[in-house]
């Protein structure tokens, strides 16, 4: 393993992210924060939703921001760089095993996802206050869940980006990402699906469920949530599967 090369490529990604910072900011936060404002502020303020919904919503919004950022940060460059600009070729020829380039993409995506997750908490809190009741009884557990969620977003981005044709980017969002968000227990807790037992079971194949429920369990444990052990176990399994699949597909794209 050649760390110098790995870090230089990571530095390139950081440089590009810095250059596109403002665009990234809008892309990541605008939509979720508008959602926070309408549902957390307008709907609660006008009495259509209870005050406690503010605290319930925040972990879900954090999950959406993190997963959206990670997928976008990895999948879009992978699709464009392999199929359109071919600009990844220079890095494929860098003196490092090709698979490490996929690892680098996952590390870069994970870091961006974590940054997005950590930035959305104060932003949403400012929009929602007063009435947000964040407890975070175990900061270390919260950190572990956050890292696993970020990793999930990046490995998911790698697997998606390496499986999609450039012409299917629109489909990727409407067929995969949007249903994942709506059936991902982001705007409601998993227990709220109790009246729809079939749906409640079915959504368990959606990794975002574990991301939102995990963040809910560690940020606002006063609400009902899935067991933390199940969350951690599921996220580890999903991360492993998505990473293995992404790595294989990435290699297939890089070498013919």
């Amino acid at each position: 393993m050649n760390w110098k090369t790995f870090l230089a490529i990571l530095a390139r990604d950081a440089h590009v992210a810095r250059r596109n910072f403002v665009a990234l900011l809008f892309q990541t936060f605008l939509q979720p924060l508008m959602f926070v404002f309408i549902f957390g502020r307008v709907m609660v303020g006008s009495g259509y939703l209870p005050e406690s919904y503010k605290s319930l919503l925040l972990p879900g919004i954090m999950a959406i921001c993190m997963v959206g950022t990670g997928i976008w940060a990895v999948a879009m460059p992978v699709i464009a760089e392999f199929q359109f600009t071919h600009e990844i070729e220079d890095r494929l020829l860098a003196p490092m095993e090709i698979s490490w380039l996929a690892v680098e993409k996952v590390v870069a995506g994970t870091l961006q996802s974590l940054a997005a997750g950590l930035m959305v908490i104060p932003a949403a809190w400012l929009l929602l206050r007063p009435g947000v009741d964040l407890r975070v009884p175990h900061p270390l557990l919260f950190a572990a869940v956050a890292v696993l969620v970020a990793l999930f977003s990046a490995t998911g981005g790698l697997a998606l980006g390496c499986s999609m044709q450039q012409t299917h980017i629109g489909l990727m969002f409407s067929l995969i990402v949007a249903p994942m968000i709506f059936f991902g227990c982001t705007y409601y807790p998993w227990s709220a699906l109790g009246k729809f037992p079939l749906l409640q079971r079915a959504v368990l194949v959606n990794p975002l469920v574990y991301a939102s429920e995990g963040l809910r369990a560690t940020l606002v444990p006063q609400f009902p949530h899935l067991s933390l052990l199940a969350v951690l176990g599921a996220l580890v399994v999903f991360n492993f599967l998505l990473f293995t699949m992404g790595l294989k597909k990435f290699y297939g794209k890089a070498v013919s």
Binding site: K4, E89, D90, M96, S256
Partner: protein, 341 residues
């Protein structure tokens, strides 16, 4: 350390569409992707069919051939991007497939299509490339400045490359490939789309780089370029080497050297044999009933005699094209096809 290039019986069979980089554009796929449950055998495309080459360190070697001949696939295998189906390839002492990282340190690659990093400026493209190869910040800045100067890109150095012209992108691609001072430089169709002035600058830079002992492998379908630049060349077609040698040797191997391509009105095959008796004619080949290719050791002075033979036989001479000794004639002689077809 000087490094040469060797290949032994390289074969590559694609079972899925080859990447555009491999440039196997000349092939067509037999069956489209099968719908339904029945599994159709994947169409197999033989891109390389046993290529053996020995390129000595410090040589400028050229692969000449039409589109789809296997040039880019050969370069792909030698640069770790294509896995050979059979056979071996070596850069210096390293077998390519099993020593990819060591090989990548020795090579610089200019791909056929532009693949510059659109998120960076011209200077950053060079300095980041240097960083991937472990150069110090000082060394990176110094080399980037020198290369930008040499390739006449200094005034656009700090602009994003998105707005660059094709020629500027090509120059920057070559500068980038030289940034880590590789022992072996691969240039896949380097002068495609360049204006004549830039092409001359490129040739000058390639010769200069070669003068420092570096090995250069370039692919082209431009005979003039192969002739002007290469010490030796291999002509490849359908994944096989059909001729190998110095440009002079290869041109001398064409019977006579001159080629007269003749087109006639309706005529018999007996009629063509009459040309064999003209002085200086070495070989006569019929071309699908429409005429004949005459290989001869003289050109224009043969035309009146050809016209005489035709009018004596009552056959109309429709068209005459004379080419002087060239690699184009050589390719035609070996394959019966023009390089440009």
């Amino acid at each position: 350390m000087l490094a040469g290039i060797r290949t032994r019986e390289l074969r590559k069979v694609y079972t899925s569409p080859p990447p555009v980089a491999a440039g196997v554009g000349g092939f067509s796929f037999g069956g489209a992707k099968g719908k339904g449950k029945s599994k159709q055998p994947k169409p197999e495309i033989v891109a390389l069919d046993g290529i053996t080459l020995d390129i000595t360190p410090g040589e400028i070697f050229c692969l000449l051939g039409p589109n789809g001949a296997g040039k880019s696939t050969t370069v792909g295998i030698l640069t770790t991007r294509v896995r050979p189906t059979a056979g071996k390839a070596f850069i210096g002492e390293y077998e390519v497939w099993n020593n990819q990282v060591a090989v990548k340190r020795l090579i610089g690659v200019v791909a056929q299509r532009p693949n510059l990093d659109f998120n960076l400026t011209a200077r950053e493209i060079l300095t980041f490339h240097g960083a991937y190869f472990g150069l110090s910040a000082y060394e990176r800045a110094k080399r980037a400045e020198a290369l930008l100067e040499r390739f006449k890109l200094t005034d656009r150095a700090d602009q994003m490359v998105r707005g660059f012209s094709g020629g500027m992108m090509q120059r920057l691609s070559i500068a980038r490939a030289m940034m880590h001072d590789p022992q072996v430089l691969f240039l896949d169709e380097p002068s495609a789309g360049l204006d004549p002035q830039t092409r001359l600058l490129l040739w000058e830079i390639i010769r200069e780089y070669n003068a420092s002992g570096k090995t250069i492998l370039l692919t082209t379908h431009n005979m003039e370029e192969a002739d002007a630049l290469c010490q030796r060349l291999a002509i490849i077609d359908h994944g096989r080497v059909i001729a190998l040698g110095t440009p002079r040797e290869l041109k001398a191997s064409v019977p006579g050297g001159f080629l007269l391509r003749l087109r006639f009105g309706p005529h018999s095959s007996e009629f063509l044999k009459r040309f064999e008796n003209l002085s200086g004619v070495r070989e006569v080949r019929g071309t699908d009933g429409s005429g004949a290719d005459l290989y001869a050791d003289r050109g224009g002075s043969l035309v009146p005699e050809v016209a005489n033979v035709a009018s004596a036989a009552g056959v109309e001479l429709l068209d005459v094209h004379i080419s002087e000794p060239s690699l184009e004639n050589l390719f035609l002689h070996h394959t019966g096809r023009s390089l440009r077809e």
